[in-house]
């Protein structure tokens, strides 16, 4: 009997100790949050901006917006599959469609940490009743490339994992740069994404990180065709279809909408021809065939893997 009581007491203490392994952090919204030392079951409140960086850092993300219970995406684009491939271990459950959190589903997943974006401050109070909520800045305009992943690695103690991946990525950057016909350093680039209009891609994505690490410099489109700053909220900003062909970057990087089924060069060209007729006849980069086509679903997330997909596309283009 005494043995039993002792065992139970030890088990209870162990369990309590496990729960007690928390630490206090200040999140990007300035809130003080008690988070688990080693989060085991994370819910991400945005697939592309939060879930993918966490997955790449090796965290067990158990739920995100926009997925069915069996882990299948209910939206046009499946970023997890596009970026990481068809990995059965990445069957992540859903917590309702975007903008409509299913609190019951969320609670049933028993998370020990919820990671949201700064703009989800209003929801964080409700979510805090289920698990601690950490808010990561994603759209303040201060982020670029895969800096969101780097910040998450720092916040959750995975800096070593991030550094190893980045070191390997930087080796690949050198390799790809050497394979290009010309040294890209100092040349300008303009990255666009074609929705039902043409939009210039801003800073937050693995694609932009890779392009800049290769040595390309951003073409100053902001002062040419829009009153919106290049460095600001959001993934992309619309450009005038009339003025698009007048822009003069050394390199044009084009991707189709991630909701599009066709990411082929022919498909993207046809779409762009319809929106901005004459672009390929007048734009210098087009005339000199300095165009790289990317699959936006693979490269638009702020992850090292997206940057690697971008490097692969550049390597292919350089051949």
């Amino acid at each position: 009997m005494r043995k039993l009581v002792t065992t139970m007491a030890v088990m209870l203490l162990a369990t309590t100790a496990a729960f007690a392994q928390t630490r206090e952090v200040i999140d990007d919204a300035g809130r003080t949050v008690q988070i688990p030392e080693k989060p085991q079951r994370i819910i991400a409140m945005h697939e592309a901006l939060i879930a993918l960086p966490l997955i790449e850092l090796g965290f067990d993300v158990i739920g995100v917006y926009g997925r069915a219970d069996d882990g299948a995406s209910i939206y046009d684009v499946d970023f997890i599959k596009s970026v990481f491939g068809d990995d059965p271990s990445l069957q992540i459950g859903g917590i309702g469609p975007v903008g409509d959190i299913d609190l019951e589903k969320l609670r049933a997943l028993k998370p020990d940490l919820i990671v949201g974006m700064g703009r989800q401050l209003a929801q964080s109070e409700i979510l805090s009743a289920i698990a601690p909520v950490y808010l990561q800045t994603t759209m303040a305009g201060s982020e670029s490339g895969f800096s969101i992943e780097e910040q998450l690695a720092k916040a959750f103690g995975r800096t070593a994992v991030f550094d190893v991946k980045r070191a390997s990525y930087l080796e690949r950057v050198e390799e790809v740069r050497a394979s290009l016909p010309e040294d890209p350093r100092g040349k300008t680039y303009l990255a666009i994404i074609v929705f039902d209009q043409i939009s210039a891609v801003r800073d937050v994505s693995g694609a932009i990180q890779a392009i800049r690490d290769l040595g390309y410099e951003p073409y100053d489109w902001a002062n040419r065709v829009t009153n919106e700053p290049a460095k600001s909220r959001g993934f992309a900003v619309p450009l005038s279809s009339e003025e698009f062909a007048l822009l003069d970057p050394d390199l044009l990087v084009i991707m189709n909408s991630y909701m599009s089924a066709d990411h082929s060069e022919g498909g993207i060209r046809a779409r762009l021809d319809a929106i901005a007729p004459g672009w390929s006849r007048f734009m210098r980069a087009a005339k000199e065939d300095q165009i790289v086509f990317l699959n936006s679903a693979e490269v638009a997330t702020p992850t090292i893997r997206s940057a690697l997909h971008t490097l692969a596309a550049f390597e292919e283009w350089g051949r």
Partner: protein
């Protein structure tokens, strides 16, 4: 009034030409009128301004002209036949019915683009006939103010739009292709649809012009028209069918856009009178001018963002609708007369 007719039509024609030239000249980049005219008469493939005029601005302008003419003439005929100042393709279920059938055809039956236009026309008929049916069900079809017709149309329009939106929401993989169209968007990308359907509208306007005199007599009074030898029901039904076909073909091109069909006849009527011989050309011209100006506003106010023309129209349409309701339904004279 007669003295005013031809100057009014000439004035409207002038406004259309001015709106067209403004549409071709103003935009994110300003292109001077000489370049605009040169682009139209002596296109130079090495001049980028010519490309912008010929391949971006002109297609948009032509779509706006077509849409405005179809909607305004449709509104004028419907207001005349129903004798209701609020009648318009948008209110009587034609626009939303056409939209619903296009969405159902594309999303559920996977129809190719050319058949989506046929679906739009079928949907336009469905929307209008269901509106008449519901009005009859209410037992108020003889109401002289036609209030039941308007209410039925408004309710059904909302219903059809909701169903269409629900179908789009339930099919995320196709949604992005139609989201812009469904909110009423004049876009040069849609010029291929204009090439497919322009002849339907032009043919429709031709038929309406041929029917202008009997149509005028019918709108002045059915007995009067019958005593003048007009086959009232034949004229009514052919005119309605032509309106549904031409309006639906406009919806097939750039989605459901309201307001023009409602308000243009109200501006035209005091200028040229009730005779459709003059009202139809005047409506076609003024409707075109309104759409051209709305498109110009949509392209330039928030440039480089391009607003959907349907959104611009709805902004003005809501206000205009309220003014017309107040004028025709809430004025003391009308209330007294309807007791």
């Amino acid at each position: 009034m007669t003295r005013l007719r031809y100057p009014a039509i000439a004035g409207t024609l002038f406004i259309v030409v001015a709106a067209l030239l403004a549409n071709l000249s103003f935009g994110p980049s300003k292109i001077d009128l000489i370049s605009v005219v040169t682009a139209l008469v002596a296109f130079d493939a090495d001049d980028y301004d010519h490309f912008v005029v010929a391949y971006q601005r002109l297609p948009r302008a032509l779509i706006a002209v077509f849409l405005g003419a179809m909607m305004a003439c449709g509104g004028a005929v419907l207001q005349g036949l129903t004798r209701n100042p609020l009648a318009s393709p948008g209110i009587l279920g034609i626009n939303s019915g056409a939209m619903l059938f296009v969405i159902v055809g594309a999303f559920i039956f996977n129809l190719p683009p050319e058949w989506q236009g046929v679906a739009a026309i079928a949907g336009g008929f469905f929307g209008f006939i269901s509106c008449l049916f519901v009005t009859r069900m209410t037992g108020m079809s003889k109401d002289p103010r036609g209030l039941a017709l308007i209410l039925s149309g408004a309710v059904l329009s909302m219903l059809y739009s909701s169903v269409a939106n629900a179908i789009m929401l339930a099919s995320p993989s196709r949604r992005s292709d139609f989201l812009s169209w469904a909110s009423g968007n004049i876009n040069h990308v849609y010029v291929e649809r204009l090439i497919d359907f322009w002849w339907l509208g032009v043919l429709g306007l031709g038929v309406l012009m041929m029917f202008a005199r009997p149509l005028t007599l019918v709108t002045l009074g059915r007995e009067k028209a019958a005593s003048a030898g007009v086959d009232v029901s034949r004229v009514t039904w052919i005119s309605v069918c032509v309106v549904v076909v031409s309006v639906s073909s406009a919806v097939a091109i750039c989605g459901p856009i309201g307001f023009v069909g409602l308000v243009t006849p109200h501006i035209v009527r005091p200028l040229v009178g009730a005779s459709f011989t003059h009202a139809l050309p005047a409506n076609a011209l003024l409707g075109a001018a309104i759409c051209l100006l709305a498109d110009l506003t949509a392209r330039t106010v928030f440039a480089p963002h391009v607003l959907h023309t349907g959104i611009m129209m709805d902004l003005f349409g809501g206000l205009t609708f309220a003014i017309i309701v107040k004028r025709y339904y809430l004025s003391p004279g009308v209330r007294e007369a309807s007791r």
